[in-house]
Each structure stands twice: as C-alpha cells, then as structure tokens.
C-alpha cells in the first residue's frame, strides 16, 4: 500500500521491456496508433484507458497473438519480434487474461504446465514432478490448491491463481494482468495484491490493467494512460491525481461525469410499504416520485437487488404492499408489473438483459412485441422503426441495426437494454448497476440519458455500488444493510462518509 517511489518516475535501472510506437490496424479500423510502454523490473505498472483505447490490442501484441504493423519491442535492451504465443513465453512474458483461459477437463497441474510439462526419459511427461512443481508454486503463493484436482468448478479467484501459477512456472519476468480484479471479491482482490507485491519483490515487472483507479493507486508505482489507440502519458502514481487520470482518459472534466438537471418533483409513482421477504428483507418502506432518482446504496449482499426483484415480482414478497401510480401490484408477477408501467434493467446485461446473438433491432423490440404485431405476426418494419428511433435518441454507436448485440461495447449494450424498456414508455425505471463494466466516457453518457429521462418525468430507482455515481446522480439515497433501510439521505446532506457509515452499521439513527 505504501510503496515509496524511487528515483524519477518511481523506478530505476534498465527497462525490462520497452514497446515503442506500436501500431495495429484491422482492415479499416486502426485499433492502435501509438502503443508505447516501458516496464522496469520490480514495478507494478498500471495501464488505464476507456474501452476501445487500445489496451487489449497492446496486450495481444505483448502476448505474441497480434503482430504489430509498425513499431519496436525491446526486451532487456534487445529488439525482439514475437511471432506467436510461444515466442512471447520464451521472451519471459506471461499474460493473465480477463477471462481465465483454463482447460476445465484437465487437472490444475496440467493447466499450469500445458505444452511445457516436465519430461522424463523418452520425452514422456513426468507427472509426479509436474504435480510437485505445481504444489511448490502454490506454496510460494500461499494458497492451498490441490494440483491434481480438475480445473472444472474452480472459483474465478482460484482460476486466476492458476493463471498466475502458470506465469510463475514459465519463469516469466513480465506479467500482464488484463483486468484481473473484475470478478473478484474484496478479500480476493487483497490476496491478489499480496501476490503482485511478492512478484515485485522477486524482480518481476507487472503490467496491471484495471478500470478501478483506487486499485491502481493501491498496488502500482506508475501509470500509463491511453486514449483512442494512443499513448497519452506515463506518470508516477505519487505525481498524479484521480481527476488528472480521468481527464487524460476521457479528454474532458470530471464534473461532466455526473450531469444533474434540476427537475420539479411530481406525484408519487412507486410506493413501497413494509415490504418483507422471509430472511432477506425486513420492513422496507419508501417512495419514488415523478422526476426523481432514488438510489439504493449499500454493500454487496445488503439486499438492494432483492428489493428490486421483490418490487418487480421476480421474487415473491412475504409481507408488504407495492403500489405503482395508485395501483397495487399483484405478488410475484413480472408481467403485471410491466403492464403497470415498471421496467427493470438488470445488473447482468449479458445474462439477463440481452439476447447476445440477436440483432439490435430484435433486442430493442423484445419487450414491445405485442404492440408490434398484427394477428400474432411481428412486423419487421415496425420492429426496425422502433429500434431506429431509440438508437437515435440514445445515440447508440452501431454498424447496422441487424448486427448482433454481442458485437457492441458494454456501454452500447447497456443503451440497447435501456431502449428495450424505454420503448414500453414506463412510469418507473428500476436500474441495477447502470454503469458496471462500462468505461468512463460512456458512463457519463448513460448518466446523461438517465438525467434526461428524469427531466421528462420518469421516476428512477437506481441501485449502485459506486459511491460517486450514487452521490452524483441521486436526489435521495436509501442506504441498506442486512435487508433493512438504515438511512435516508437527501442529496444535500449525503456524503461518502455518511453513506459508508450507514452501510456498515455505524450510523445509529436514520437521518430521515
């Protein structure tokens, strides 16, 4: 945590790896214009940038998966050409991908040593040696994984440990970690950081890619920022602030991240009275008015998403009454909730919000099919018109409306989910983690869309784990803890400190 930068830029000695002005184009798309980064032994170096900034392309060049069109790469001062994954591995570079790339059917030890298994006479694999070596690496990392168990069923955190073990076993001295913390819990992230610190002590260079800037400051010494496929700057973390990083990433100021228009609050749209679910939710009462964003804040597992599910009718309520525009919602019926004007944008877009292989138009139309049909036959023309209208209103970036949504970036996918629900003209929008996994620039856009919707008279119930988002967007904040509302804070009185104290149970009386 308290890394002391040494020398200028926090590093000294000779660079282990230097990539200079690498460029890569795919057809007409110039994915990387100027990919430049220098890694020193013993440093953890953060690479940050919006989605599409060229980070992944740069990583794949270091992995030997892509060959750059121009530019140079030097390792320990020697120019090298990486013409394949094996060449990168031989050069001491190991990549830990965002999605762990394990073989579920093989054992953990085999996963670690695939293609490099220790051999005995006759080029046969020496299994006892392989299992022993794997065990030794796990001991070094301080984790208790059985080398002989199948990789199938490992938690994401354990899969990442296997990936790191893979890197260590190949004696890599450059480790590239592509968003390793995206799917980890806080405890697991801390364990990963310990591993990164241990790697640094052994003299390895770690390239750490993350959207979470607090992690960058917690574990890295230097940070390189990229924008639009170009190198922007490299700085020691001590010489740069979060605001400066974000400004360099998005090319605009932080205030624009959370646009907030003053809206006159209207009549009550959602009224929740003493909502309860056996063992999960207790005595939840609140209301959301027209033209208002109410945020549900709290730690993961506090019951925020459960409130949304109980209101919408995915989970049955064991107590309480939910009223939307004066009409009582029947228990456990999402269809009735939709008919009453409630829309739910779920937390997990890919799994719950979208049909990834279908086109943009079909996804947008999915919740409005009844309206688009004649005698049960769906009109493709109306489907397309509807999608075109919303794509235009939300400024969706796409090639054709028939393109599969899986080809869109996270932010644009979220816009498709929003379009799908907004096309139904709802009175209440429940949105769970509106900007999770979306880069900073598109985040601001989603926020602007929400702000615009509220100005048009929509009532929004927003669930978010990002405090800046909660504080920046909400008119009122309900803090939850262990299935109860522990505080209600107005926009004016809310602060990061107050919300966190309510979320962790250190705030006794509710402020409301």
């Amino acid at each position: 945590m308290n890394e002391q930068p040494e020398g200028v830029g926090g590093v000294h000695g000779k660079p282990r790896l230097a990539l200079d002005q690498a460029a890569k184009a795919f057809g007409a798309v110039q994915a990387l214009v100027d990919g430049s980064i220098t890694l020193f032994p013993g440093e953890a170096h953060a690479l940050v940038g919006e989605n599409g900034a060229g980070k992944s392309t740069l990583v794949k060049i270091l992995a030997g998966v892509y060959q750059p069109d121009s530019g140079t790469l030097a390792i320990d001062g020697q120019p090298v050409v990486l013409n394949g994954p094996n060449a990168a591995r031989d050069a001491g570079i190991s990549i830990i991908y965002q999605e762990p790339t394990l073989f579920p059917d093989l054992t953990v030890a085999e996963n670690i040593f695939m293609g490099r298994q220790p051999l005995r006479a006759g080029r046969r694999i020496d299994r006892p040696a392989m299992n022993r070596d794997a065990g030794e690496i796990f001991t070094r990392l301080g984790v208790a994984l059985d080398p002989q168990r199948q990789a199938r069923g490992l938690s994401v955190a354990d899969q990442q440990i296997v990936e790191i073990a893979k890197a260590l076993s190949s004696h890599a001295n450059v480790l590239v970690m592509d968003e390793p913390t995206a799917a980890l819990t806080t405890v697991e992230v801390e364990r990963l950081f310990e591993v990164i610190r241990a790697l640094r002590r052994e003299g390895a260079a770690v390239l750490f890619i993350s959207h979470r800037l607090e992690e960058v400051f917690a574990v890295c010494q230097r940070v390189t920022i990229m924008r639009d496929g170009r190198f922007v700057r490299t700085a020691a973390v001590g010489d740069i602030t979060v605001d400066e990083i974000i400004r360099s990433m998005v090319g605009r100021d932080l205030d624009e991240l959370f646009p907030k228009t003053q809206v006159a609050v209207g009549e009550v749209v959602l009224q929740v009275e003493q909502l309860g679910r056996e063992g999960v939710l207790h005595d939840i009462s609140f209301s959301v008015r027209r033209g208002e964003i109410v945020a549900l804040a709290g730690l993961v597992g506090a019951g925020r998403s459960e409130v949304a599910r109980a209101i919408f009718g995915i989970d049955r309520r064991s107590a309480g009454v939910v009223t939307v525009r004066g009409k009582v919602l029947p228990n456990g019926s999402p269809l009735a909730s939709m008919a009453a004007g409630v829309a739910l944008v779920p937390e997990d877009r890919r799994q719950q919000g979208l049909v990834m292989d279908l086109g943009i138009d079909r996804n947008v139309a999915l919740a409005s099919l009844a309206r688009l049909s004649h005698f049960g036959l769906i009109s493709r023309t109306r489907e397309r018109d509807l999608a075109a209208t919303w794509a235009n209103r939300l400024q969706l970036k796409f090639g054709r409306l028939t393109n599969a949504v899986s080809t869109l970036s996270g932010g644009n996918q979220q816009k498709v989910v929003l379009s799908k629900w907004l096309a139904r003209d709802p009175a209440l929008l429940i949105i769970d983690e509106p900007t999770r996994g979306i880069d900073v620039g598109t985040k601001a856009e989603v926020h602007r869309i929400l702000d615009g919707l509220v100005a048009d008279g929509l009532a929004v119930l927003m669930i978010s784990s990002e405090l800046p988002e909660v504080l920046g967007m909400a008119d009122r904040i309900l803090v939850m803890r262990e299935g109860r509302i522990t505080a209600e804070l107005s926009r004016a009185e809310a602060s990061e400190d107050l919300v966190m104290r309510a979320a962790t149970g250190q705030l006794k009386a509710a402020a409301a």
């Binding site: 208790a144 168990r149 199948q150 199938r152």
Partner: protein
C-alpha cells in the same frame, strides 16, 4: 484455495478417478451381460464364441481408438465406416490383380488409403476451418460413391485373397485371435501416447478449450490434422483386417460403422464435446456393444432389439455423464460457498 475445496476436489474431481470408475463400470456391465447370457445359452461361453466376439469387437475398437483422438479435440470423424469399405475393397482388388503380392503390402496399402483420406479430412477441417461434421459426412458419401464406381458390381471373394492373408482373420495365439491382439496393441500404444506425451495432452487441451489451447502455444491445426490422419490410418488398417476376417467384400462393407463407432466411444466415456475420455474406455465400449449384440443373437432375441438397446445404452451413458458432471460442479460450488460463509 480452501482446504474444504481441495479435499472435496481430491475426492470427486481428480481427472482420472472418474474415468477409471467409468471403465470399471463398463467392465462390470460386460461381465453381467456375459454371465446372464451364458446361463441362458451355455454355448455363449465356448472358446470359438468368445473368439468370434473378440474379433468382431477388435475392428470397432480400433476404429474407436482413432475416433477418440478426433472426438477429444471437439471434432468428429464420420468417414471411418466408408474408409473401412474402400480400404477393404482396394486391398482385395490388389490381391486379385497380383495374387503373389506379399501379405504385408495389403496392410501398407490399406493404411495408406486411410491416411490419405484422413489427411484430406484433416486439411479441410484444420486449415479451411470447415466443421468436421460436415467434412467427414461429405467424405462418407464421396467414398461410398467412389466405392460403387470402383467395385462396379465385382465382388471380392475368398478365392481372390491369399490364404496367408485370410489366416490373420482366424488365427489365434494361446486362444486369443490375432485381430484382438492387434487391436489390443493399438489401444495400449495410443492410450499410452495420449496419457504420457505432450502431443497427446495437447489433444485434450484443444477439446477442453480451443482458444486457451491456442494461447498456450498448442499447435491446434497441426494436432487436429494429425488426429484425422491417425483416425483415417486406423480405419484403413481396420479395412484390411475386415477383408482378412470376412474374406469377402462388396459395396456394403463397413456400412453404418461410423455411428456404431461413435456410440461405442461415447458409451466408453469419451465426452462428445471433447476434452475428456480414454481410448481404453472407447475399446471397452466397443467390446460391450459387440457383446450385447452377440448376447442377443445367442439368446435368440430379434435382431431389431440390438439397435434399440445400443441406442438406449448410448442415452444412458450420456445422461449419466451429464448427471455426474453436474453433481461434481455443484459439490465443489457448495463446498466453496460453505467456506465463504465461515
């Protein structure tokens, strides 16, 4: 990461343990079928009956070995049956035209025919990225058509084939048919290579996660190509042995083998979507299917039942696999969950 997880992992999820259990399971069913049938018909356990059983199973087992290599890489080879037919006919034709040709030449030619077709399958699948299901299905029809053209109504009979060649089909060593010994040798060699050589493990890696295999530097295309060549070669060898066993070949030789082989392989515990399974399992699967087949004949059950039972067994095997893997994953998850809550 947790001791609870690893203990459970050790007990349930160790790669080999499950497979070994499967192989033991097939062995038990095999003995059961054999025992029950013998009770009904004492002739079933005679030496000649068992030899017939082994010889018949040997061909399917050999094809099953090649098929396992291919299926493990998440591909499938549907051309093996037609390769058997073509190879058997070409070898027979060779002996018909050159009665003095050495026996070994018959095998060389048979294997070569299979290898060439396997190479075409492998090239189109690996280099041109056409799904192997389509490639080998097309190859199946092409060869069947070709077969008809070459054969042109002429049938190879025992009189066309040298006695020394036919002898391979019925000779035994210590009561064990040559065919069974050859198949056993193939199973042992390929089985050992699959387990103990990097190239063998590469095949499992490819089937388990193709993208990850490429990222780990596994030469995916080359390995898939090789798997098809070996599968083709073994089918070519099986074709020559088919000729030796039956001493007669017509256009229908080997018809329907492809699905029988796939069934045997899957019953033997090879995952149809790749990544796991052993050639020993595949060979046992072949033996089991063939034993059931013969048992039904010996019990004078209508031949129609034969296929129905093979089909039922296939369903059972796949359903069992699904159930088992779901159970393992669930077991591991709940163990992890339990730990997290502590």
């Amino acid at each position: 990461m947790t001791t609870a997880t690893s203990a459970l992992g050790t007990r349930f999820a160790r790669g080999g343990a499950l497979l070994r259990a499967r192989e033991v399971g097939i062995g038990v069913v095999l003995l059961l079928v054999f025992g029950v049938t013998t009770l009904h018909n004492h002739n079933f356990a005679t030496a000649s009956s068992v030899q017939q059983l082994l010889s018949g199973a040997a061909l399917i087992a050999m094809l099953g070995v090649g098929e396992t290599l291919v299926i493990v890489t998440r591909n499938v080879d549907l051309s093996v049956g037609s390769i058997v037919g073509l190879s058997a006919y070409i070898v027979g034709d060779l002996f018909k035209d050159h009665p003095g040709a050495p026996v070994i030449l018959g095998f060389v030619v048979g294997i070569a025919v299979g290898a060439v077709i396997g190479a075409v399958n492998g090239f189109v699948t690996a280099a041109l990225r056409v799904p192997s299901l389509v490639v080998t299905l097309a190859m199946l029809y092409i060869i069947r058509g070709l077969d008809g053209l070459i054969v042109n109504g002429v049938i190879i009979t025992a009189s066309n084939v040298p006695n020394a060649f036919i002898a391979i089909g019925f000779r035994t060593i210590a009561g064990i048919p040559w065919l069974a010994i050859i198949a056993f040798a193939v199973v042992v060699i390929v089985g050992y290579a699959m387990r103990s050589f990097r190239s063998g493990r590469d095949l499992y890696a490819i089937g388990s996660n193709p993208e990850a295999a490429a990222l780990a530097g596994v030469p995916v295309g080359r390995r898939v190509f090789t798997a098809f060549v070996i599968s083709g070669s073994l089918a070519g060898l099986a074709g020559a042995l088919f000729l030796a066993l039956h001493a007669e070949v017509d256009v229908t030789a080997g018809t329907g083998y492809e699905l029988l082989v796939v069934a045997a392989v899957v019953v033997g515990g090879v995952a149809i979507f790749g990544g796991s399974g052993t050639v020993v399992g595949a060979a046992l699967g072949a033996l089991l299917l063939n034993t059931i087949n013969q048992a039904l004949v010996a019990s004078r059950v209508s031949a129609f039942w034969n296929e129905a039972i093979a089909g039922a067994l296939l369903l059972l095997a796949i359903a069992f696999d699904r159930w088992l893997s779901l159970r393992v994953v669930r077991g591991l998850r709940s163990a992890e969950g339990a730990h997290r809550d502590l």
